[in-house]
Amino acid sequence: MCDILSSMDNDAPDVVATMPDNVSQPMISMRGLTKFFGRMCAVNQLNLDIPRGSMYGFVGPNGAGKTTTLSMATGMLKPDAGQVWVTGIDVWQNLTAVKARIGVLPDRLRLFDRLSGQELLTYTGLLRGMDKTTVAQRSGDLLTALGLADDARKAVADYSAGMTKKIALACAVIHAPDVLVLDEPFEAIDPVSARTIADILGGFVRDGGTVILSSHVMDTVQRLCDHVAIIAHGSLLAAGPVKDVAAGMDLESRFIQLVGGGPEHGELTWLRPS
């Protein structure tokens, strides 16, 4: 994974609010994205470019607006203002065309869990309009690659949290999209499965695919991603190659510096085993 890291260092994206041109077209461009929930501003005037072929980390504290931003970029949540382009196509003008090119792994949404893992994969593939033989072949491959082959016939409702995440990831990739938008793909995943997923994503990026993933764990982002964006209170704090954003620190320290640590806490002098 390190070779990807270094190779991506050069093409730093510009985060300035210019319209994306068609020459050095980024995979995803967001301009002035804004979303309110009632009076609460979830995402505020967000501008971000995801370069083609990057593994892009999207980090921020809880409630920072990560899920909201990703939902708007994938055509699942209508922005109140601003625009998103995927490969130069305006998402909200050409929903069908854009949806065919992206694979989505949402966080905290249910799955049709009375279906077996195998059925859920078939279902997703067929909804995408793929032909039946390709669906059958790819779902077999995916179940094997993700170590779910033995549980393929069990209802997803009976899966563990990690298995559920893996089958959802399989659903996101079955149509071989250009870009993967993954919300918390490593949450509740055991180290072995995490390595498997990381390898699959790494291979996808090596072959020219683009991945944007959100995470709470800075360590994961620093290890896997070549680019990172830090968001807090709905606004972008920093974005660019991991090395530039980290500015000589490790990503976690830099993150806390940017986001601001918790309120000053007094010494808990009584907190020792009695």
Partner: protein, 558 residues
Amino acid sequence: MVATLLSLKLHLAVADLKRSTVRLVLWIVIAVNVLFAVGLSLVGLAAASLAVPGHEAQAGWITVVCGTILVAGWTLLPLIFFGFDQTLDPARFAPFPLTGAKLAPGLILAGLLGLPGLFTAVVCLGAALPWLGNPLVLAVGLVASVLGFLMTQVCARVASTALSGMLSSRKAKDMMGVIGLVVILVLSLAGSGISMIIGFLTSSSSRLANIWQIIEDVSAVASWTPFGAPWALIADAGSGQWLLLVAHLGLTCAYLGVGLWAYGIILNHALVAGTIARSSSVVTKDSIARLAGLTWVRGKLVPVAAIAARCLRYWRRDPRYLGQIPAMLFMPIVFCGMGWGFQFLPTSSPEEAVPAILVNGMIAFGLGFMALMAGYTISADIAYDSTAWWIHLATGVKGWQDRLGRVAALSMIAVPIIIIVGIAVPWLIGSPSKIVPSLAAMVILYLSALGVSSIASALVIYPIALPGESPLKMKTGMMGSQALSQMGSMTVAGLLALPICIWVIFATSWQAWLALGAAIVVGGAMVVAGVILGGKIMDSRGPTILQSLKKNDSSERS
């Protein structure tokens, strides 16, 4: 500990009401209504007993029987509506160093701070009301009603906590949901049967005496059970049997003590066994691939077939879907049963007989309503999907494909039922000539409801039992928006179907065949229009629909 638990429950209840003004208003409206109804019946009860002196014994028997039903209801209800009031779920106290015995009294009393508990308390106090004229019996009655109320709460807690321990697996929960539905259906049928029997018995004075004998026997037996013992105190005091009263009092206290002790033990188990047992069911075949794999399913129809296959899978595996079948059959059974039963009412002269038009009218209404309900069923579909529906949004499925897949799946289940019922009922009541007309009317009602619901359900998403919950679980806010959507779409669907229904009534036998053909063609057109229009609405409202689904989901999970 009791005070802590009570204040916790109170805080939770208040916080729940504060969350939305709609909820608060709804709560107050329901509370006022129920209090009014309860108050009215209590006043009636008091008036009745005061007006008839010399009937103390009868009043006592009735108190015991009604009280027994109340306590038994509290015991059985959690078995049917599992997951019913889990505000203070014992499993949530597992991290704290508490014993079951310490928690038990507080958890039992906390029931008083819920809506059902509050109303039950009022009803219990009402049991003493008929004795306003006799201070001694009134005093006994007040004590008895407190003991009786405690009994309802103890029984309910013991039953629900013991059950939730047994129902830790998903499959067991699904089973219980289906059993609950069957029980409700049977009870509702038994209810109408019993009222017919009572009507029959009360039609002459010798039969009336029989009823009193039955009530006396039932109350005599019930007074020794945990359900009836507290209420027997009132009956004993009323009829001056003080020795019996002491025996019943001792028994009541013993039952309560044993219940409390048992609850403590069950709680101890619940506090340790916090982990959920996993049952795994193995699906033999990929049902989605099988239906979509049919050779004639091609191109844009592939997602439609996949959606239909998925819905059919859910009809088999999700108790919430199965629960719609009793709802579909309920009205025809009640109305056809009543219409059919009318013929057998004892009459002294032919003029007294119920007119045929009323009999036929009730049966026709039952059948028509069933068809309408069957078509309306589809409007709960997206709400049942809950947030799993995101996959339809993310994969760019077209609205018409979503709509059509669901219409196809429901029709594979509802159409056979409609045909069978439409042929069987006229045939059974001895008028086979009505088979074609009733089929024509049912077809047009079903199809128009299907078309209207395909549009309405893309517009209104109402809160409903979430995946994995009991099909019987009621949601706050469900009654309002669901009733509105249901009344609206069923009225529109009924009006659209009205011309053909009226034609059918006056049709001669060959015209009835023509009407059946027209019903299929016109109804088919309505479904096509519903699928296209509903699909268009869904295409433009997709993200909004997902947001509503998320809201309904998270408000329950937080």
